[in-house]
């Protein structure tokens, strides 16, 4: 596994003073730039700054929801954390038994071994399952790859996992083509969880599914979380799905985090104008709590050519001159509530009642 002596370097001392005891994953100033290449010689003419300095932490057993529009870099953040993409810069610290491992420093072999603790659930249940493999092969593959189990033991463990996600044992010899989208996503979940990871990056796991199936899969993920003591980074663009599962929510816009807070706090009391707009789009089941729908002008900023100052300023209705000049840092406004806005403490933004999210119409 991981060389212990490697962990006693600078990363150790750095983390000790910041991290509360039960933090599982800490991301510091993560950057991922994709080069833009042009011409015959493929000269790099610029960078798409998909993730531009994201810092966040996830406590053990909690779910951090990561929301934002399409193309804001939330998926890239998730993929950098599981090292599908090589981060351009930044630290990804995984805390285990009181020591921290920087995933960004791991060599290929170490990383391969470490991947047991770190899994991913994919958005598209159709393209994420190899059509040439049976459920048994698909779910059993991680166990085989890590040499955890083989033969009948593997079959037993796979069967156990498949039943735990709500499929049947007789589904094992079947190929993905015989399953519906929701069932395929269950296979994907079984595959991710079969080696008992600690952290699971859920990359929009329900956005490709039928609305009627979405809540079933979210419920399943919640049940499995308590059962298997999992920690989730839940990436999604749909606020109504995220608030159902998340303890805390991080809002992302054009490669940067603009607001991080406890779910209830963020819903009731958003401090960033962008969060307010996202919340206004959540459908409300209670007709008495109708809120004015805020429509954003224009397109999201181009991450290859981000605006100066605050990246949100061209679309912000509260914009002042300082927003064009200076980028606001992500600062802690109240304990646990981080906002990146110059006027976070002065703006009166509209949130939604937390009870709305439980979809109860009281009268």
């Amino acid at each position: 596994m991981v060389d212990e002596s490697k962990l006693n370097g600078a990363t150790m001392s750095e983390t000790q003073d910041v991290a509360p005891s039960n933090i599982l994953l800490e991301v510091k100033d993560l950057k991922k730039y994709f080069p833009i290449q042009k011409g015959l010689l493929r000269r790099t003419t610029g960078y798409v700054k998909a993730v531009d300095g994201v810092s966040l932490f996830i406590e053990e057993g909690e779910t951090l929801g990561l929301v934002g529009e399409s193309g804001c870099g939330k998926t890239t953040t998730g993929r950098c954390i599981v090292r599908v993409y090589e981060p351009t810069a930044g630290d990804i610290l995984f805390h285990e038994n009181g020591s921290a491992i920087n995933l960004n420093d791991l060599e290929r072999q170490e990383l391969k071994a470490f991947r047991r603790h770190l899994q991913m659930i994919f958005q598209d249940p159709f393209s994420s399952l190899n059509p040439r493999m049976t459920v048994l092969e698909l779910v059993g593959e991680p166990l085989l790859a890590h040499g955890i189990a083989s033969g009948t033991e593997l079959e037993d463990r796979v069967a156990e996992m498949v039943v735990a996600v709500g499929l049947k044992v007789e589904h094992l010899p079947r190929y993905p083509h015989s399953f519906s989208g929701g069932q395929r996503q269950r296979i994907g979940i079984a595959r991710a969880l079969v080696q008992r990871p600690k952290l699971v990056v859920c990359d929009e796991p329900v956005s490709a599914l039928d609305v009627s199936v979405q809540s079933q899969v979210v419920n399943l993920l919640q049940d499995l979380q308590t059962e298997l003591n999992l920690t989730y980074l839940f990436v999604a663009h749909d606020m109504s799905v995220v608030r159902q599962i998340s303890n805390r929510i991080a809002v992302m816009y054009v490669g940067k985090l603009v607001e991080v807070a406890e779910s209830e706090e963020l819903l009731r009391n958003p401090k960033h104008p962008y969060s307010e707009t996202l919340l206004s789009a959540v459908p409300r089941p209670n007709p008495h709590h109708r809120m004015q729908r805020l429509n954003l002008e224009g397109e999201p900023a181009d991450p290859a050519n981000a605006p100066s100052g605050c990246v949100f300023h061209p679309r912000c209705q509260y914009m002042e001159d300082i927003c064009k000049m200076e980028a606001p840092p992500l600062a802690e406004l109240t304990p646990g509530h981080h906002v990146a806005c110059h006027f976070a403490d002065s703006l009166a933004l509209q949130g939604i009642a937390y009870s709305d999210s439980i979809a109860v119409i009281s009268g």
Binding site: R42, S128, P131, V213, E227
Partner: protein, 392 residues
Amino acid sequence: MTESIPHNGAPHKPEIESVAAATASQSAPDREKQALYTSSQWQLIWRRFKRHRLAQIAMIMLAFLYIIAACAEFIAPYETRRDFKGFVYAPPAKIHFFDEDGFVGPFVYGLKGGRDENYQRIFEEVKEEQYPIRFFVRGDEYKLWGVYKTNLHLFGVEEDGQIFVLGTDRLGRDLFSRVIYGTRISLTIGLVGVFLSFVLGLIIGGVSGYFGGTVDEIIQRMIDLLVSIPHLPLWMALAAAVPRDWNSIQTYFAITIVLSIVGWAGLARTVRGRLLSLREEDFTIAARVSGVSEWRIITKHLLPLFTSYIVVAITLAVPGMIIGETSLSFIGLGIQPPAVSWGTLLQDSQMIVNVALHPWLLIPALFVIVTVLMFNFLGDGLRDAADPYSIS
């Protein structure tokens, strides 16, 4: 949607001991469904292929042609170089079943050559000479597959008579026998040529797709250049470089190399395109996240998905090779006599006089057309069947 309700509570242990036991305890229609659900991609392809009537017929026809190619010596009544004096440009034989006395089974009359008032060659049937067509007659000696020395032929007539099913050529050689022998070179050159192009295409396309970047760019522009050169002049230039004094086996391989030098480009493109798209598929990333090694990803995830596309691409590339060989041999730059291919047989029909007076010399072209059509039908059926996302 038939989603089962997610369970609550403690982790479950499956009640059933094994997968086999679970599948065994099902009713008959369930088992049929299970058979469909558990059928692998190849089984699904086969299932869909079986619905493609034309492709199936094509496959059977091609199998038949290849059997002919394998047993050419046995099926052809005569040896390719056996020339019958006095039977130059004899027309295809008329096979009779009835004589004056009624039904006697298949037979041919003896032929008598002569010239008419315009000094054109004519042949008359000699009614007194009847030669019944028999199966398994003794004739020219040969070694089947280079091992068994025998003189048994599938059919023929008694020693004194002759049977020219498709007539004879300018030296009095039996055209049918020559077409049968020609099948061997014409059909295998397509396969060997495609195999060579496939190896080239797989390596070059693989390098292009795997390394990407500048290497990819250079290879792709090279392919663009190669594809832009008209095929026939390029083949001609290359074939002209093959030394004249090489024997027929050497020429055969030289020609396959010439054909595949042009042919690999298309296959390389296919390989590269598939590789690039498969490499970025979610399931490859999923496998990588699961800690699966690169080697296993290539062998277990990429190659199996690759093969069906490659099989289709290869099947559709074979006719091009066959046409290529035929064209080269037709203009005299391909297979050299005395070796026989359909192209060399068609050389005789280069002169319009020959075609006008002895139209049977064009019959080898018919074989080319049928073979190419069959390969196209087969490739078409395979392509429809191999698409993994059209599940019906």
